[in-house]
Amino acid sequence: MQTVEDLLAVTGLPFARYAWDPKPKGDYGVIGFLSEVSLEAGNRTAERGTQYYVDYYTRSDGEAVRAVISAALAPLSGRLDYTEYERDTGYLHMEWVVAVYG
């Protein structure tokens, strides 16, 4: 089974699990636990899984990065859930949500 880290490794972008940098110098990404989830079939729980968030902070315009990460996370049906431009830091913050089942 492919992990989120495996999928993101092909992007060549800097990702770390839960590692947050108080004084970031460049672009960086963080992978973290979001929630337990379950797939329902009828009234029954068919499958349980784990939802992760994938944050990426970039000072580029973000278009290329967004395309690369979205493509990498496609096998886990990763979806871009949030984007915000931080005026005070100049970072564009993007967050994807992915779910791993089984």
Partner: protein, 135 residues
């Protein structure tokens, strides 16, 4: 040749009655589901957020395009004048330079979603039965 006649007038009366009642019934159902979600979010709120927890509310029910919907959100400001909505967003999504990310809305919704859907269905079904039965 056999001839069969049926009086549909009572059935049409039920349809008329349902037509006038279905939107209010759906609003009751959506409210019951939203209340479960709001309670779940409230109980998952980070504790050190002052007034943010108390500012969570359910907005008015909106009926449009054949559906009924509402919103659950934070309102107002805390004692320092910081908008509660902004604080909730920082906790939910984080920022590049503050290690404050503690998602609580989406996990709470994931946990309570099935119960909310069941409550909506139960309320709507019960109210429809009352409407049809209450001739």
């Amino acid at each position: 040749m056999a001839k069969c006649t049926t009086d549909f007038s009572s059935l049409f009366r039920e349809f008329d009655r349902m037509e006038n009642s279905i939107v209010p019934i759906c609003k009751m159902g959506v409210y019951d589901g939203a209340k479960i979600l709001a309670d779940a979010i409230k109980s998952a709120c980070p504790t050190d957020t002052g007034s943010m927890k108390d500012s969570l509310g359910i907005s008015r029910m909106v009926s449009s395009d054949g559906g009924v919907s509402t919103s659950i959100g934070f309102s107002g400001t805390d004692e320092k004048g910081v908008p509660n909505q902004l604080k909730a967003r920082v906790f939910e999504f984080g920022r590049s330079t503050d290690n404050l990310k503690r998602p609580f809305v989406r996990p709470a919704v994931n946990r309570a979603k099935a119960a909310a859907q069941a409550a909506m269905a139960a309320t709507i079904e019960t109210e429809i039965q009352k409407t049809i039965g209450g001739k």
